[in-house]
Subunit: 471 residues, 2 copies
């Protein structure tokens, strides 16, 4: 890739003259660092366009001047995709472009601009008596553009899929400033290469998503949830299969929670209500959304009885109303916040073939104990084989005490995941944090194809330089 | 693109020496024409490799010699993607590579080679007490490689998605003969550009799919189906929304059938049982798959009562057992065969935003009647906005009488579809038949990106030359 130029005063002045007033301004700190504090720069300039035409003008100018562009969504990404630490690129935030352009409720389609937050899209769908099912802890801040660029996952993937599965079409400003108008509302469209799926998950390295056509769903008429204690992860998997067979397509989430999560909550968020007096070693949170006239609580009680009979569960609580269901989810959703307060030495967003999950869990902890004495909080979306396997210091110590061990910890976890056919980035993406992991674990033929595609679509290498692929 | 060399004797001899015995042979007629007879060549040579390594050797040799490769699946494609009429390329059939390499029933994953037929995969899933839900009329012949290369659709897309949605990973021989091993069993994997989705739907122009990792599902515990007569397409759409709200995720198919279909069946397939004495102007076939203890027939009867009340249906039959359900599907699945026997002047595989379907249907017939006097058989997957809108001669005439009108008919239908935001190829792909349509209706920025990707991954242009993009 050719060397890029910085977004210097001359470039910014010339660009500013071509854009509406106040489109460019010095970047506040929130644009210059990311949640885990691993990537941070001192200064920068952020462009805040109001229209797709503005975005196109910005990118055209950057392409002409060979200046890097770093797309910034809600800033919630956990792999440093939104913060470039070298080269003084221009930061591009679409936060002023958050309109819901159209809702076609009868078609279950919503079209919005990329700056809309996930919560805004969920609310717009709700107002139209529909469901936009993507749900994740940062939904109040994360924006649709970033969510699609990183192919975000979350808790409802089991039933509704990842972000890419919820997108029917895109509007994208390409690396040369041209605009691809692919905002279709179609469920089937086999007219050429699937550029949409290429842009989704490319983390802003192949273009900037400016708007999206999203799938909505009927709201489940009846919802329910249960927490069930399981003897071990293998039992959790058997319970997952049992639930799939008995409640079928109504199963919307199946979350695994290790005891360490509730224990962290007691330590740093004692107000969170916990349903078990003594947290079980492992539990699962099961969520159902059923059709009219069906009874989720009864279905969950029946599932519990059948599973108890089979020795797959030892204890359980079925939500008797929506408030109880919400309380179960509050418990689950508070775990990432508790993790932040405790301070992980190393976090791992991994996925495994479902059948390999028990083997991984059996082998990872002993392997890590050879590196040091840690607490491990494992939780996540077992239904998708996606675990957040995070390593913490023992009580009384902190992550700074373990900085030196971090590379070995990461390597240990990722090597094991890779050897079992898993992925070292299930839902967070590559960003800048995992570029080396991708080079180490990625298929070399795929990597070569990725580099060829990048060079073909972004020959100057201006789009999010250094993310996903080495600049 | 550079000019390709023919697969001449010198090339074939040299290649043959590098491959196991009998890998190459003169192509029988089935490899040289396609179902609708629009593309046909006199002679050719077909390569029948037994392993991915053989495929890689063939493609490497073709790349070195700049000889074109035409991947051939089951030969059931309807857009000429499997027959190259110029340049004497080598035909590549994976019919000897049909092994099911692994079934992970507890993970709902099946890994098979690309030459397995869809029916073979369905049967293997069934044997493991699972469902592979893709279903289409040619399933006994169509092979997984072709199904993925064309992103086939079929009758269960509403619930389970298109072929791409059912694929977790791929093994692909790239245009330089290298092998991408992407046969993952993961539900979530955000490690770089989604090469899988780029290969799916690329119709063999970016590489050859040699194996795939496919998603299985629990078999619905209880199935049901109903035929309901609706006053018009708008009522059918309202009924679709009502069904979504009442039965939720259990809705697996929602097929629209115009009276012309049953009338064609009476004409050329009189043995097919028809449930209504007089076929209604429009009817829908609704299929449900529900969980244990649920009663699909009762759910459908309830839906019928509610819809009748609302004036959305005028008559209906609910299948009381699996044999009746099968009979409904036999009726639906026989329509394409009846169409073949009657002989369409022009067939259109279109999709529309759901809300635009009634408008399209109201406007298309009068527009066509200005070109000539035709019979129109419209049927298809209304739940996906996908219609097969096929134009036939009046009784006593045949398609040969109307050859001159074919381009005008096609243009009339496609212009209207395009103006309504629809697609001129919903599930069949571009092949060679629709290259001009893609150029006419496709977004120019997307087309430019497609050409750049093709040139980047297949610089010699050997992979299925002339399909999708002009060679």
């Amino acid at each position: 890739m050719p060397v890029l130029n910085p977004a210097d005063d001359a470039f910014l002045e010339a660009l500013s003259a071509r854009l509406p007033d106040d489109t460019l301004r010095p970047a506040e700190p929130r644009y210059l660092e990311e949640p885990r504090g691993r990537y941070r720069v001192q200064t920068g300039v952020v462009a805040l366009p109001r229209s797709t035409a503005d975005v196109a003008a910005i990118i055209r100018a950057a392409a002409d001047a060979r200046v890097g562009i770093v797309p910034y969504g809600g800033g919630t990404g956990l792999v440093g995709g939104q913060v470039a630490i070298t080269g003084r690129p221009l930061i591009l935030s679409l936060e002023r472009m958050r309109a819901v352009r159209a809702i076609h409720a009868e078609e279950n389609v919503l079209i919005c601009e990329a700056g809309a937050t996930l919560a805004e899209v969920q609310a717009a769908a709700e107002e139209a008596e529909r469901l936009f099912p993507l749900s994740l802890a940062s939904e109040g801040t994360a924006r649709i553009g970033g969510i699609l660029a990183t192919n975000a996952g979350g808790v409802n993937v089991l039933r509704y899929g990842n972000a890419r599965d919820l997108c029917l079409g895109l509007e994208v400003v390409m690396p040369d400033g041209s605009i691809w108008n692919g905002l279709r509302r179609l469920r089937k469209d086999n007219t050429g290469y699937d550029l949409r799926h290429l842009m989704i998950g490319a983390e802003g390295t192949l273009g900037v998503i400016t708007a999206a056509s999203l799938r909505l769903f009927p709201r489940p008429a009846a919802r329910g949830a249960a927490l069930m204690a399981v003897p071990d992860p293998a039992a959790a998997l058997a319970l997952l299969a049992m639930a799939g067979a008995s409640v079928g397509a109504g199963l919307s989430a199946f979350e695994l929670i290790h005891r360490q999560g509730p224990e962290f909550l007691r330590e740093v968020m004692p107000d969170i209500r916990q349903p078990f007096d003594e947290p079980p070693e492992w539990m699962v949170l099961i969520d159902l959304g059923l059709g009219r006239g069906q009874n989720p609580a009864a279905a969950l009680e029946e599932l519990f009885a059948e599973a108890f009979e089979a020795g797959l569960v030892t204890d359980g609580v079925v939500a008797q109303n929506e408030a109880q269901r919400a309380a179960f989810w509050t418990l689950r959703e508070a775990i990432p916040e508790a993790n932040r307060r405790i301070g992980a030495i190393s976090s791992h967003d991994i996925s495994l073939p479902l059948g390999a999950v028990p083997d991984f869990l059996q082998r990872a902890a002993p392997a890590l104990s050879e590196i040091g004495d840690f607490r491990i909080n494992c939780f996540g979306h077992l239904g998708d084989g996606n675990l957040h396997y995070n390593v913490f210091p023992q009580h009384g110590r902190n992550r700074a005490n373990h900085e030196a061990e971090r590379p070995a910890i990461k390597r240990c976890v990722h090597d094991l995941v890779h050897s079992l056919g898993g992925s070292v980035s299930a839902e967070h993406g590559i960003g800048r944090l995992k570029v080396e992991d991708l080079e180490r674990y990625g298929d070399p033929v795929k990597l070569r194809a990725m580099r060829a595609i990048k060079a073909a679509l972004d020959p100057a290498g201006i789009m999010n330089p250094g993310a996903v692929l080495r600049a």
